[in-house]
């Protein structure tokens, strides 16, 4: 085995046998799923707490109204987490005075002058706890809707008529290119894939980049480095480490891929009773909605949830069929390796320049900023994958690994992919070259607090 191969093998072997690697490999997909599910779940938990809101109504002369004259009664319907109590003959100042004692969480004040108000009108809402956006939306839209139909009723339009006025539009995205085949659109799955891919690259660069840095520091602080570089060149040692750790990353990625496919296959087995499985086995693209609709009336009430899940699964599977999976995986591997080597070399240079972990902070910042910027732009391109911002940041090499991943499931023009790939390769060659210079000098330098000026000098040696 040649020397760089030996170094790669050692770096790989010592890490792949670590308990932390094995645990992370199995826990990774679970943690990742948790990262996606948890925020949604947390907001739900928060919302379960029921808020009681008192509603105070005044007549047109700004006087409290008795029960019989209440106009706004039940205007805002209750929700799972909000209860509206309609008071009669209530005097607003009297109610508000009881801030300490009252057990209302808020007071909504509705004067009858609203009925004739046009354009913009305001309603007062007194709160203890800042209302959630959902609550605000619920209250104002309920009132708006009520006033709207009320106005129509005064113009002698029947309530049936009003109901008929309402139409909800679902925009049905169809890829023009595929016409006349009106394939169900795969944008949601594409977005999901892009998001997961970009996010994984972001995490991998940080995780494995930091491992490179720590590995270099370990060799420096344990003083073995001079022994090693009397057998191999510093460049071989640095590249061996970077490549060895890249292989660890790829191993982890493949393990996660297999685990995820396995887990989702198992999940399908649980959610899909035999009958549904048959339906989804021939997913006729255009009537996927129909088949689910056909199925629902005959299904027992208890399996409706399962049926929905089944529909979701077959939907995802069918959408995945429209994505160029090979391209996505290929791009992932390329951008992971390219981005990782680019940043890994810089991490190695930092590890070589410092004596201990605390000194790394000052040099980490310039590396962290473009990575985080990439993450933000990725979230933006998730909304608009063909926007100018997304295009440019997917070509600029420092951010391209993350941003291009978010775009790649959509049809990115070949010229953009090519430009981004070539630039990435050139840049990682440049950073490894620079990093090697810093590395070479840094690993033999002890007990010296290094500044940026010093690094600049090392590059010129």
């Amino acid at each position: 085995m040649n020397k760089i191969g030996l170094i790669i093998w050692r770096e790989y072997l010592t890490r792949v046998r670590k308990k932390s690697f094995i645990i992370m490999t199995f826990l990774g997909p679970v943690l990742f799923a948790a990262l996606i599910v948890l925020p949604g779940w947390l907001t739900q938990v928060e919302d379960r707490e029921v808020q009681e809101i008192a509603v105070v109504e005044y007549d047109a002369n700004n006087q409290p109204v008795p029960d019989s004259l209440q106009f706004f009664r039940d205007v805002v319907p209750d929700r799972e987490n909000m209860k509206f109590i309609y008071l009669h003959n209530a005097v607003l100042p009297e109610i508000l005075k009881t801030y300490e004692a009252a057990n209302y969480d808020g007071v909504l004040f509705l004067p009858q002058s609203l009925i004739s108000a046009g354009g913009r009108a305001s309603v007062e809402f007194y709160y203890r706890k800042t209302p959630s956006m959902g609550m605000e939306e619920h209250i104002s839209s309920s009132i708006e809707k009520f006033l709207f139909s009320n106005k129509l009723i005064t113009k002698n339009i029947s309530s049936e008529m009003i109901e008929a006025l309402e139409t909800n539009i679902n925009l049905n995205r169809i890829n023009w290119k595929n016409w006349p085949d009106k394939q169900a659109d795969a944008t949601d799955v594409k977005r999901g894939l892009g998001y997961v891919g970009g996010f994984l690259i972001y995490i991998f660069i940080f995780m494995y980049g930091a491992q490179v840095m720590r590995g270099v520091m370990e060799e420096k602080t344990s003083r073995i480095v001079e022994v090693i570089i009397s057998s191999v060149t510093p460049f071989q040692l640095m590249m061996g480490k970077i490549i060895g750790i890249a292989l660890i990353g790829l191993t982890q990625f493949v393990a996660w891929l297999i685990l995820t496919v396995g887990i989702s296959a198992a999940a399908q087995q649980i959610f899909l009773p035999a009958t549904i499985a048959q339906v989804t086995q021939q997913p006729a693209p255009s009537d996927i909605m129909n088949s689910a609709a056909d199925f629902e009336p005959t299904a027992p009430a208890a399996t409706t949830g399962k049926a929905q899940a089944a529909e979701m699964f077959s939907d995802i599977r069918q959408q995945l069929g429209q994505v160029n999976i090979a391209l996505v995986i290929g791009a992932f591997l390329f951008y992971f390796l390219g981005g990782y080597i680019l940043y890994g070399a810089l991490f190695a240079a930092i590890g070589a320049a410092v004596d201990n972990e605390t000194d790394t902070q000052q040099f980490m910042l310039p590396i962290t900023i473009p990575l985080i910027l990439g993450l933000f732009v990725m979230i933006n391109s998730f909304v608009n994958p063909m926007g100018k911002l997304a295009i440019w940041f997917s070509i600029i090499p420092l951010t391209s690994p993350i941003v291009m991943m978010a775009r790649i499931p959509f049809e990115v023009p070949a010229i953009q992919i090519l430009a981004s790939a070539v630039l990435l390769i050139l840049t990682f060659l440049a950073t490894t070259w620079l990093a090697a210079k810093i590395y070479r000098t840094g690993i033999l330098m002890y007990g010296k607090k290094v500044s940026y000026r010093e690094l600049w000098k090392w590059m010129k040696y």
């Binding site: 030996l6 022994v227 009397s230 191999v232």
Partner: protein, 307 residues
């Protein structure tokens, strides 16, 4: 014949000149000492020999031809800053380092078995380095340095980090390797070990060679006609006889014997002095005082620093 030659080596770092036209010629099968105060440039020279850093000027020859990266397999280096991977197992690590020096795994395995048995450290094979004491780690480090049986061994301050037991083990091994035909270069401030081990030395101070040659020759060149005579008898008569031929530098009495240290005048030989003293006293010992390497080191370095 020289196994290794470094000729007119210059190395400039951004803020100082580390080596200024330094030349060393290391005869095959010898032990070569590289001496000098801290910061003189010894480590830089050793790093250049190991091709860790490149010289700005000068040439390096190994076995009569220009030194090349392939020669690293024939060199064993124990740097001053040394250590091992703490989390790695001893045996695995030794195998890894041996393979980096170009040994095959099978060959390395056989030789490691031999050395581990010789040093009675077989039981550590599967232990992590961090579980070993410092002294134990030094033994492992030493084995990994010499395992590939290099023609040229380079030790940077080998005795400074080692405990006395390992240091003497190291000394014996160095002598044995010399017997087996290896050539050894080591840097040190420990003048005792220079006297014991070295055939040749180079003394570097402030980036320049200020003294070089065979240890014996250097001592002979630096002796200053000092003699010590031991005798029994009347000291006054002895001094009377010696007066006019030499100066008495020092004298003391020990039990029945008197000792006098004298610096002979230029044209007075050892025999002349003996014949002066013999009639008046019973001579019990007579020897020429040869300066120690330590004295020479201090003398030469201080002389250069004062200039």
């Amino acid at each position: 014949m020289y196994l290794f030659t470094a000729s007119k080596i210059v190395k400039q770092f951004s803020d100082h000149l580390a080596l200024d036209h330094v030349t060393i010629n290391v005869p095959e099968g010898s032990i070569y000492g590289l001496l000098g105060p801290n910061g003189a440039g010894k480590t830089t020279l050793l790093r250049i020999i190991n091709q860790i850093t490149a010289p700005d000027e000068g040439e390096l020859f190994f076995s009569g031809r220009t030194l090349n990266p392939g020669d690293l397999a024939s060199i064993g280096y124990l740097p001053e800053e040394r250590g091992l991977y703490k989390k790695m197992k001893v045996g695995e690590q030794a195998l890894y380092l041996a393979q980096l020096k170009g040994m095959s795994k099978a060959d390395a395995m056989v030789k490691l078995k031999h050395w581990f048995t010789k040093f009675e450290i077989q039981a550590w094979w599967n232990k992590k380095v961090e579980e070993l004491s410092k002294g134990m780690q030094q033994k492992v480090q030493f084995v990994t340095t010499i395992l590939h049986e290099p023609k040229l061994l380079i030790f940077d301050e080998p005795f400074s980090g080692f405990d006395p037991i390992n240091a003497s083990l190291l000394k014996n091994e160095i002598l044995e390797m010399k017997k087996a035909g290896a050539t050894i270069i080591f840097s040190t401030h420990d003048m005792g070990s220079v006297e014991e081990l070295c055939d040749y030395i180079t003394l570097i101070n402030k980036s320049r060679t200020i003294l070089e040659g065979g240890v014996h020759d250097i001592k002979m060149n630096n002796k200053s006609n000092l003699f010590e005579i031991g005798f029994t008898g009347d000291p006054a008569r002895v001094y009377e006889k010696l007066d006019g031929h030499c100066q008495v530098v020092d004298r003391h009495a020990e039990r029945a014997s008197q000792y006098v240290k004298i610096k002979a005048d230029k044209n007075v030989s050892a025999n002349d002095m003996l014949s002066l003293v013999l009639p008046v006293a019973e001579v019990t010992s007579f020897n020429e005082v040869i300066p120690t390497m330590n004295e020479i080191f201090i003398k030469v370095v201080e002389a250069q620093n004062q200039r």
